[in-house]
């Protein structure tokens, strides 16, 4: 018996050897991967924080509390605060329509949702300048009514909405597709109203996916540069978001102040990555739990 067990064990190792690589190959590949990631991801990240504190903590804090920087932070929060909820409402209703019903033109709607991912940020800003700018299609009408969209806050919000448009919908559509419609149908046949079904059945089952979409949407909204730069007009203390503030300081050779502002956004990116990973692990755990429960039932 003991002999049989040991042969089995030996055979197992031999199979593992046959479908794996020699130790030195593994080591080489891991090293190559880690060096590549260190060079392209870790070193730039360290550089941001090192440059930010290069003139000491006092300069760092001073460059974040000066009025222009403070205004830029507030404007960035405002733009994200408007565009993220708007895209959440859109994402949920688009996902509801696409996954709960079968209708003609569905594919066209899905393509339209994906479109902003394929559009260069610069072009995203340009389309609003062409619509609402002084020489745009609606420019004369807006000027008559004393409304300003381009080179003003509404333009910044619009550009931000455009570039973050797909995030929530893209997360929810595959998730809700997978869940199907049986729970909603059960709830409705038991007498719940449509809204009750939505809030008590659908929302709880998509909450992690929704949160995931919101996190990604928010990171992009706060960090968008190209689209916002085209519509903002770079008016200091008025239409400068945090990324634009970084650019202005950098071009004025105020590197420490520029990197100080950048360090806030880098910190935001790190928080985003942590929350994102936690949500992914949660998702994997939920899945395994569901799989185990299903296995027990049968």
């Amino acid at each position: 018996m003991a002999g049989a067990v040991s042969t089995l064990g030996r055979r197992q190792t031999r199979i593992n050897q046959a479908v794996s690589e020699p130790f030195w190959v593994q080591l080489a590949l891991i090293s190559v991967a880690l060096i590549f990631l260190a060079l392209f991801l870790v070193v730039p990240l360290i550089a941001v924080f090192k440059e930010a504190f290069s003139k000491g903590l006092e300069v760092y804090l001073a460059s974040l509390t000066e009025p222009d920087a403070w205004h830029a932070i507030k404007l960035t929060l405002l733009a994200a605060g408007i565009s993220v909820p708007l895209n959440v409402i859109f994402g949920v209703s688009a996902a509801w329509a696409i996954t709960k019903f079968r209708f003609r033109g569905k594919q066209a709607l899905i393509t339209l949702i994906d479109l902003p991912f394929a559009v260069s940020p610069v072009v995203a800003g340009l389309i609003y300048v062409l619509l609402f700018g002084a020489q745009g299609w609606l420019g004369p009408w807006l000027a008559e009514h004393d409304l300003k969209i381009i080179f003003a806050v509404p333009g910044i919000v619009l550009a931000t909405v455009f570039v973050t448009f797909p995030f929530v919908a893209r997360e929810l559509i595959p998730l809700m597709e997978e869940q199907g419609t049986s729970y909603e149908e059960a709830s409705l046949t038991l007498g719940a109203t449509g809204w009750q079904t939505f809030w008590r059945v659908t929302v709880p089952s998509i909450k992690w996916g929704l949160l995931y979409g919101i996190i990604l949407c928010n990171a992009r909204a706060m960090g968008e540069f190209g689209a916002v730069s085209v519509v903002s007009g770079h008016i200091r203390g008025q239409t400068n978001t945090l990324p634009l503030h970084i650019e202005i300081l950098y071009n004025e050779y105020q590197f420490a102040a520029s990197f100080a502002a950048a360090s806030i956004l880098a910190g935001l990116a790190l928080v985003t990555l942590v929350v994102k990973s936690l949500l992914e692990w949660q998702h994997t755990r939920d899945r395994e739990k569901a799989k185990r429960a299903a296995a027990q039932e049968t």
Binding site: I15, A18, V19, S20, L29, F36, L37, L39, L41, V43, P44, L45, A47, E51, L86, I89, S93, A94, W96, A97, K100, F101, R102, F103, R104, L109, L112, A118, V119, S120, P121, V122, V123, L126, V129, L130, L131, Q135, G136, W137, F162, F165, T181, L188, G194, G223, F225, G226, S229, V230, P243, I246, E247, Y250, S258, A262, L265, A269, L273, S277
Partner: protein, 276 residues
Amino acid sequence: MRSLKKPSVIPGFGLSLGFAAFYASLIVFIPLAALFAKAFTLTWSQFWDTVLHPQALASYRLSLGAAFIGACINLVFGFIVAWVLVRYHFFGKKIVDALVDLPFALPTAVAGIALTTLYAPQGWIGQWLTPFDIRVAYTPLGVIVALTFIGLPFVVRTVQPVLEELEKEIEEAAASLGASRWHTFRRILLPALLPALLTGFALSFARAVGEYGSVVFISGNMPFKTEITPLLIVTKLEQYNYAGAAALAVVLLVFSFVLLLLINMLQHWNSKRAGG
């Protein structure tokens, strides 16, 4: 409505589709249509003169060329990273896995100034390259570095799930039939992973072609030398040449749409492979 959709007990079709379609038209469809309308206020000859101007041609060459090289770098190293993350165990793997998405989360302007500082002749990385007479910042090489950075997660994130789903038994069968490890990799693994690899490559390429924020800092923005197409659009806009900017934007958009179509076809191929 009745003829538009199949019957269902679930309510809210009109409301949800109505709002989604209204919002999507307002934010995406109408503004994009306005762009095409603006570009075609030019006559045909004006349009072609703008989009085929030598400065524009030089910018396409740089944008496409650098994006292509960046995507190639990401194809090779992204594959290695995905492989290592799925197949091997090492310390700190979860952190490395999370970090791969950094280019998605880090604002492009932050990436731009960080990379420029690193690769400037006095920078941490630049100072090691100066003795070899390699200049990265303010040259096309810098554009490649920036575009590699922003396209980095795509290949990893498309290959990783496919590699995880691959059944080990196939490799075991190949090994027991006498195939060497390298042979198994080339004849079994690589063909199975090819659609995912190409999708990741195309996504990384598409993202890089339109990129602006990270490139403007490191490229130096010299016309004919380090001027990418999105920057040329901004320049035209600053000169109040709206129709010219729109014409170049149309070229960029058409190119992106073709890529998007290609990516959809690749993903279709990918899911068919995975299903069958």
